[in-house]
C-alpha cells in the first residue's frame, strides 16, 4: 500500500517535471522570435510606411505586432484566459464562445453516438448469438468498417441534404463498428457452462439475454463503447472543419483562416481535455460492470 502510494507520488512528480521541461523548451524556442527593436532613424519615410503596412510599426518602439507566429508562453496564457473568461458569448451565427462551440460538438457526438448504440448493441447481440447471421453479415462489416468516416461526408451531404444531420450521420457510421464487433464478440464468448445452466433451468430466451448474457458480455460491450467514443470525438473535429457552421472543429477552421496559432493551440488543448474526460467517464462505467470470477 505504502509502496503504491509512493509510486503514485513519484509518477506525479515526474509528470510535473516533464510539464515544466516542456514549457521551458517552449519558452526558449519562442524567445528568439520576439521582434528585435531596429534603429528607427535609419529608415526612409517610404520604408517606414512599408513597415507599417506589414504590421510592424517602427515608431512604436518595436512593440510585438499581432502576427501569426508561434506564440510565446505569455501570449498563450492570455489567449487561454481570454477564452475562459468569456466562455459562452454569442455574437450571431459565426462567432460564439468556446463553451457554446463545445456544446454543439458534444450534442452532435452524443446524438450520433446514441443512434449508433441503439443500432449496434442489439445487432451485435443477434450476431453474437447466431453464427449464421454472423457469417452472413461479416463480409459487409469487413468492407464498411475500414472506410474513413469523412469519406462518407460528400455522399451524406448529397443524399441527406442537410449538413448538420450529415455530421451526425458521420459520427454514427464511425462509432457503430467497434460497438458492433465488440458486442458480438462479447456475446459469442459467454461461457458455455452458464448458458447450459440457463438452459437446464428452462429460462426464457428474453430473461437469458438480459440476466445471463448481458451481464457477462457487459465489460466487452463497454470496451467497444469506449473505443467508439474515442473515435467519435476524433471525427467530429474533422467533420466540423469540413462542414463549418458551429462546433469546436469550426472554431479551429475559423482560427486557421485567421492564421491565429494561439487560438488553434487553445482549441487543441480543449479538444484533448474534453476527450480525456469522455474517456474517463467510460473507464468508470467499465469498472462498474466488471466482475471477478
Amino acid at each position: 500500500m505504502n509502496a503504491a502510494r509512493s509510486l503514485g507520488l513519484r509518477a506525479g512528480l515526474l509528470s510535473a517535471v516533464l510539464l515544466l521541461v516542456l514549457l521551458a523548451v517552449w519558452h526558449v524556442a519562442t524567445l528568439s522570435s520576439a521582434p528585435v527593436a531596429t534603429a528607427a532613424p535609419a529608415l526612409t519615410p517610404e520604408q517606414i510606411e512599408y513597415a507599417k503596412l506589414m504590421g510592424k510599426d517602427p515608431s512604436a518602439g518595436g512593440a510585438p505586432a499581432a502576427k501569426s507566429g508561434f506564440p510565446t508562453l505569455a501570449q498563450m496564457g492570455s489567449t487561454i484566459a481570454k477564452h475562459l473568461s468569456q466562455p459562452s458569448y454569442d455574437n450571431g451565427p459565426n462567432d460564439k464562445g468556446i463553451a457554446l462551440q463545445l456544446g454543439y460538438s458534444l450534442a452532435r457526438v452524443g446524438l450520433g453516438y446514441l443512434l449508433a448504440a441503439l443500432v449496434a448493441i442489439p445487432l451485435g447481440f443477434v450476431i453474437g448469438m447466431s453464427p449464421l447471421v454472423y457469417r452472413a453479415l461479416d463480409p459487409f462489416i469487413q468492407v464498411l468498417k475500414p472506410i474513413s468516416p469523412l469519406a462518407w461526408m460528400p455522399l451524406a451531404l448529397y443524399t441527406i441534404k442537410d449538413s448538420s444531420i450529415s455530421g451526425i450521420f458521420v459520427i454514427f457510421i464511425c462509432s457503430v463498428w467497434p460497438m458492433l464487433i465488440n458486442t458480438a464478440f462479447g456475446v459469442a464468448s459467454v461461457r458455455r457452462e452458464w448458458l447450459n445452466v440457463a438452459r437446464t433451468l428452462e429460462v426464457t430466451p428474453l430473461r437469458r439475454a438480459f440476466e445471463v448474457i448481458l451481464p457477462a458480455a457487459a465489460p466487452t460491450i463497454l470496451t467497444g463503447m469506449r473505443i467508439s467514443m474515442g473515435i467519435a470525438w476524433l471525427v467530429i473535429v474533422a467533420a466540423e472543419m469540413l462542414v463549418g457552421g458551429t462546433g469546436i472543429g469550426y472554431f479551429v477552421w475559423n482560427e486557421w483562416n485567421n492564421l491565429s496559432l494561439p487560438n488553434v493551440i487553445f482549441a487543441i488543448l480543449t479538444i484533448g481535455v474534453v476527450g480525456m474526460l469522455l474517456d474517463l467517464m467510460f473507464a468508470r462505467l467499465q469498472k462498474a460492470v466488471t466482475y471477478v470470477d
Partner: protein, 468 residues
C-alpha cells in the same frame, strides 16, 4: 462634463468596464472605434444624397446594361421619347422595378433568410449589408453564415439550406449546366466584386517573375469553376505553358492558401483577397500581379440564388436585391472603404487583421517586395451581370474541356445572368432589342467578341482538343 471620456462612466446604457463590452476587441477603445465605424457608415447610407445616389446608380446601371453603346441609347431615346422610354424600360426590366419597389414594397414571402458566404473581401457587399442594417431595412431577417468552401456552398444551395448565397460567378453557370453537380437552374443576380484578385508567389520566387520560367510550379485556385482558375490558365497559356501539363493547379480553399504557401506545398496561387495581402503580411509571399492587369473590370464573385427561390419568393428576392445593390453602391465609394474594412474585419465576418483589409480595399498596399503601391481600383464592386462575361466564362469552360460538345453560349448566359428576362420581354413587346448585354471584353490585350464565341475558343493555340 467632458464628453470624450472613453469609458463612458455616465452612460447608463454602457457597462462600466475597462474592457471591451462585447468581448471581441482588445480594448474598450477598439470596440468603440468599430461601433463608430458602423454608425458613421449607417449615417452616410441614410443621407438623402446617398439614397438619391443609389437610386440613380441602379437606374444608370440598368440603362447602361441595356445600352452599352451610347449611340444606341441616344437613338433609342430620341426615337421613343424620354417618357415612354422610361416607362418601357420600367415595365420590362426585372431590376428596373427596384426603384419603384423601394417605395411600394410587396409583401415578403419569406423573412428569415440564410445567406452563405466565404470569408473573402469579394463578399464585402453581402457581409456589410448585415451590420449596417440594409437587410433589416428591407424587412428581412438575414443570417450571413460563414462557409468552409465552395463545394459546400454548392451543396448547401442544392440542399436549400441557404436561400441565397455568395457564388463564384462561373458556379451558377456550371450548376445550371450540370457540370460538377446535378443540373439545377441557378441565377446570378448581381456581380459581387470586380477585379480584386491577384497572383501571389512564394518569396523564394522573387527572381522568377516571367511565367515562362514557371514550368513545374504548383498553383492553387479556390475552385474549378472560378474566374481564378480561368484567369490563371489563360495567363500561363499566353506565356506558352500548358496549364494541365506544365504546371499543376490544385483546388485549395482560400483560407488554407497562405498556410500551404508557407509550408511550401504550393509555389503560388491565383486567389481572392485578403489572402494575397495576407501572404505579404505574413512575409511568405509577394504579389506578382493584380488580375486587374489581365482583364480590367473582370467579374469574380457573384450574388445569386436558385431560379426556384426567385419564382417562389419574388418580393423577398427583390428586397434582397435592393439590400445588396445599396451595399454595392456604398462599397464602390472610395471614401467608405476604410470604414468598411473596420466593419468587416471582426471574427463574425472575415476574421482578419484590419490593416490587411484596409490595404486590399483602399488599394494602397505593400507588395511584398519592399514597395508601397497605390492602385485605387485594385478591388471594385460593380454589380452589373453582363452577359458577355458569362459567355467568356463559357468559352473558357469549353476551352479547357469542362463542358463538351456544342455550347449554346448566349442561351445559357441569358438563362443564368439575370439581364435576360429584360431582353426576352422587350422582344415580346415588339421593341427593338439592343445587343445590350454584350459589351466587348479585352483580356490581356485580346478583344473578345461574344458573337464569335466559338471562333474565340478555336483561336487559342493551347487548349484541350474537343475529342480528348
Amino acid at each position: 462634463m467632458r464628453t470624450d471620456n472613453r469609458f463612458d462612466p455616465y452612460n447608463a446604457d454602457r457597462p462600466l468596464t475597462m474592457r471591451c463590452a462585447c468581448g471581441q476587441h482588445a480594448s474598450a477603445e477598439e470596440h468603440r472605434s468599430a461601433q463608430d465605424a458602423v454608425a458613421e457608415l449607417k449615417r452616410r447610407s441614410e443621407t438623402a444624397e446617398f439614397e438619391a445616389y443609389s437610386n440613380d446608380f441602379i437606374e444608370a446601371s440598368l440603362v447602361k446594361a441595356l445600352f452599352p453603346h451610347d449611340a444606341m441609347r441616344r437613338r433609342f431615346l430620341r426615337a421613343v421619347g424620354k417618357g415612354s422610354a422610361m416607362a418601357a424600360i420600367g415595365s420590362v426590366l426585372p431590376v428596373a422595378s427596384l426603384q419603384a419597389m423601394a417605395q411600394e414594397k410587396g409583401t415578403l414571402e419569406k423573412r428569415d433568410l440564410k445567406i452563405g458566404f466565404i470569408p473573402i473581401t469579394c463578399a464585402t457587399p453581402l457581409i456589410m449589408a448585415h451590420p449596417l442594417g440594409f437587410y433589416s431595412k428591407q424587412g428581412l431577417d438575414v443570417q450571413v453564415v460563414k462557409t468552409a468552401g465552395w463545394a459546400l456552398i454548392r451543396d448547401k444551395m442544392l440542399n436549400k439550406e441557404y436561400d441565397a448565397t455568395h457564388f463564384l460567378s462561373p458556379m451558377p453557370l456550371a450548376i445550371s449546366l450540370g457540370v460538377g453537380s446535378n443540373p439545377t437552374p441557378m441565377n446570378v443576380a448581381t456581380i459581387q466584386n470586380t477585379n480584386g484578385q491577384a497572383i501571389t508567389l512564394h518569396v523564394k520566387h522573387k527572381d522568377k517573375r516571367d511565367p515562362k520560367d514557371w514550368k513545374g510550379f504548383k498553383f492553387a485556385v479556390p475552385f474549378e469553376y472560378s474566374m481564378h482558375n480561368f484567369l490563371l490558365r489563360y495567363y500561363v497559356a499566353e506565356a506558352g505553358l500548358d496549364p494541365d501539363r506544365d504546371i499543376q493547379i490544385r483546388v485549395v480553399p482560400p483560407p488554407e492558401m497562405v498556410a500551404n504557401l508557407r509550408a511550401g506545398n504550393i509555389d503560388g496561387y491565383l486567389g481572392p483577397d485578403p489572402f494575397n495581402q495576407r501572404a505579404v503580411f505574413e512575409e511568405v509571399g509577394f504579389i506578382h500581379l493584380l488580375t486587374k492587369d489581365l482583364w480590367n473590370g473582370h467579374p469574380c464573385c457573384a450574388f445569386g440564388t436558385s431560379t426556384e427561390f426567385i419564382q417562389k419568393n419574388p418580393n423577398t428576392f427583390a428586397a434582397l436585391y435592393r439590400a445588396v445593390l445599396t451595399s454595392a453602391a456604398m462599397a464602390r465609394e472610395a471614401r467608405n472603404r476604410e470604414l468598411i474594412a473596420k466593419v468587416i474585419a471582426p471574427q463574425a465576418y472575415l476574421n482578419q487583421p484590419e490593416t490587411v483589409l484596409t490595404q486590399v480595399l483602399t488599394g494602397k498596399f505593400a507588395d511584398g517586395l519592399g514597395n508601397v503601391k497605390t492602385v485605387p481600383d485594385r478591388a471594385d464592386f460593380d454589380p452589373i451581370p453582363w452577359q458577355s462575361m458569362a459567355v467568356w466564362m463559357l468559352t473558357q469552360m469549353k476551352r479547357w474541356g469542362y463542358v463538351k460538345g456544342e455550347v449554346n453560349y448566349k442561351q445559357i448566359a441569358e438563362k443564368v445572368f439575370l439581364l435576360t428576362d429584360a431582353k426576352k420581354q422587350m422582344k415580346a413587346l415588339d421593341m427593338k432589342v439592343p445587343d445590350g448585354a454584350y459589351p466587348k471584353i479585352t483580356v490581356m490585350g485580346k478583344v473578345f467578341d461574344p458573337d464569335k464565341a466559338e471562333a474565340y475558343v478555336n483561336g487559342f493555340a493551347i487548349k484541350r482538343s474537343p475529342n480528348a
